[in-house]
């Protein structure tokens, strides 16, 4: 095995035995965040079992029931008698799926574009101009604009949010690539005749993982938050799919009589985002304490 390969070879010890894992597990904020986020994930995965009934089933006679200590009416019902508990857990499914979608798109395209920009000097300039232009738009506004044009749907939300964030992810990847590219083991690999793509995938990328992983957890948090904004404005998933943002928007009219309709979904959002932010902080502390905090 060439020396360059030996340095960049991915770990052979399983992840749960590495010192990184041990440090993560001991990091209090990370574990708290992980617990919160896992709770939400559990809600989403087990939604069909937890939900007392269909989230869209209306029951006019049961409307406006406040939350009480009861298996069915734990979170009460809304103005159409729909069960809030069911709607919340199904909303969790939507938020998490959209978050996942945004993270996946960012991983694929952000890494691709960032690696290309960082590695091929000639493409760097124009690509960064384009990225700067996209970033000149305030993120929510651009997402709103795209979503408004494409028409409201869950897919629109994923695409719009991804477009907004991919330039930022690409920048971060590019920054790492720029640094790693100059390191000696890369020169060694190049000298031994490795092709561009081999160098990028086997030698450069594994060493850029740390800031990327931190950024991805923050992106997930941002996606959940922004999806709520889009749904609140009516630009997200259609009303037939329960979404936390739509629930807040619908509950708004009844804020005086039935405040829980607005408060409960907001708490759900806050819990998820807080959990993700804590995890992101923990990952950053453990993986690279010298990373500066970036927006989102």
């Amino acid at each position: 095995m060439d020396a360059a390969g030996a340095i960049a070879r991915p770990r052979t010890t399983p992840f749960w035995r590495t010192p990184t894992f041990r440090r993560l597990v001991r990091h209090r904020s990370f574990m708290i965040g992980l617990a919160m986020f896992s709770f939400v994930v559990a809600l989403a995965v087990l939604a069909w079992w937890i939900a007392p009934n269909d989230p869209n089933r209306t029951a006019i006679r049961m409307r406006f029931r406040p939350p009480q200590l009861d298996r069915v009416f734990l979170l009460g019902t809304d103005n159409l008698g729909r069960n809030m508990l069911s709607r919340i857990v199904h909303g969790a499914q939507l938020s998490l799926l959209i978050g996942l979608g945004v993270v996946l798109l960012n991983t694929v395209f952000g890494v691709l574009l960032g690696a290309v920009a960082g590695y091929f000097r000639k493409l760097d300039g124009p690509m960064m101009r384009l990225a700067d232009a996209l970033m000149a738009f305030p993120s929510i506004l651009l997402a709103i604009g795209i979503a408004a044009a494409l028409g409201p749907s869950a897919w629109t939300a994923v695409i719009a949010l991804s477009v907004v964030y991919i330039p930022r992810t690409a920048r971060i990847v590019r920054a790492s690539v720029l640094v790693v590219r100059e390191m000696e083991f890369v020169q060694a690999a190049r000298a031994s005749g490795a092709g561009h793509w081999r160098i990028i995938s086997r030698h450069i990328m594994p060493n850029c993982m740390a800031p990327l992983i931190v950024q991805l957890s923050f992106i997930f948090a941002y996606a959940v938050l922004s999806e709520a904004v889009l749904s609140f404005l009516g630009l997200g998933a259609p009303p037939s799919i329960p979404s936390w943002g739509t629930m807040i928007s619908e509950g708004r009219t009844y804020i005086r009589e039935a405040a829980w309709l607005t408060i409960v979904p907001g708490c759900a959002i806050a819990l998820t985002v807080l959990g993700l932010n804590l995890m992101g902080d923990g990952l950053r502390d453990v993986l690279d304490p010298r990373l500066k905090i970036e927006q989102g």
Binding site: L141, I146, A149, L233, I248, I255, R256, A270, I293
Partner: protein, 317 residues
């Protein structure tokens, strides 16, 4: 310094070009025929054709782009489909409201964000730090429109301290404006306060570790001076960079906040346009906001350069 300003302005031009292209392109994203969407389900073929001709959608693509830029250079951002008046006029009409709200939110952000961050850093690992960091973290995790609604429930409905309906402009009655503007500004600012506090704290911690701080103490300077002068001067520099980002987020957040609080600013103008598919308004409004923010960011960059002597005195290097 002067050359830096000119360089910065020149750099902005290609970006501005792309930005305008993107906002122009938004209309092109509409799936299907925009003329039909605008006309609505009941429009006749003739009406749709009229719309198409009015908006110039029947011309070839490059002509449309050309017309778009030609209009831009003349300060014409298009005409709102709903309101019938020029986009620029509608936006400028409502600008003072959004601007006053943003300034209020900005002041709150800077004052609280920086003080909380500095306090947390100076009392690192004590309960003060824990409380401050937790507060900042929660602030960053709350959806701002939801916070606005919660505040309405608390402070308006239950406690009756602050009003929710109608809106008073600053120029009409500053005191009443303050009462009306507080809740929306706090809702707007909360996320930014959290963000700024976190960044200030980490920057301060890092700055306090620097060698020149040790030198300042070795010179016998009182601790308050070491922090207030030597540390803060270095902390402000990266913080100013963030201020630009914060301003962007503030203005975009106002879209939602203004609808929550029924405030007639640019934000709700855009919000309405989105709901009613007023594409020309969306296009023109977005471009206006993006361009205004770019200008503000350039100003922030210049401010940053002025503060950092390494950049300021780099003339000709």
């Amino acid at each position: 310094m002067g050359s830096y300003i000119i360089r910065r302005l020149l750099q902005a031009i290609p970006i501005l070009l792309i930005v305008s292209l993107i906002s122009f392109g938004i209309m092109k994203l509409v799936p299907g025929d925009p003329a039909i969407v605008i006309g609505g389900p009941n429009a006749t073929a003739e009406e749709v054709e009229n719309i198409r001709r009015n908006l110039g959608l029947d011309r070839p693509f490059y002509v449309q782009v050309g017309v778009f830029y030609w209009n831009l250079l003349h300060g014409d951002l298009g005409r709102s489909l709903l309101l019938g008046k020029p986009v620029l006029e509608a936006v400028i009409e409502r600008a003072p409201i959004t601007i006053s709200l943003s300034i209020y939110a900005m002041v709150l952000t800077i004052v609280f964000g920086i003080s909380i961050g500095v306090l947390a850093a100076l009392r690192q690992n004590t309960w003060i730090d824990q409380v401050a960091t937790t507060f900042a973290l929660i602030g960053v995790s709350l959806p701002n429109f939801w916070l606005g609604l919660v505040m309405i429930v608390l402070f308006s409905v239950h406690l009756g301290w602050l009003p929710t309906n109608s809106y008073v402009e600053f120029s009409d009655d500053p005191v009443r404006w303050l009462r009306h503007a507080t809740m929306p500004s706090v809702a707007l600012a909360m996320l930014q306060i959290g963000l700024l506090a976190r960044i200030t704290r980490s920057t301060m911690l890092e700055t306090l570790r620097q060698d020149y701080i040790r030198t300042a103490r070795a010179k016998g300077l009182p601790e308050w001076r070491v922090v207030a002068k030597h540390a803060m001067a270095n902390v402000m520099i990266p913080v100013i960079t963030v201020v630009g980002i914060i301003l962007s987020v503030l203005i975009s957040g106002s879209v939602v906040i203004e609808s929550v609080f029924s405030i007639p600013g640019i934000g709700s103008l855009l919000g309405n346009a989105i709901l009613r598919r007023d594409y020309t308004m969306i296009q023109g409004g977005l471009l206006f906001v993006a361009a205004a923010l770019m200008l503000l960011n350039i100003l922030v960059d210049i401010l940053y350069a002025w503060f950092d002597p390494r950049v300021r005195y780099d003339a000709g290097k």
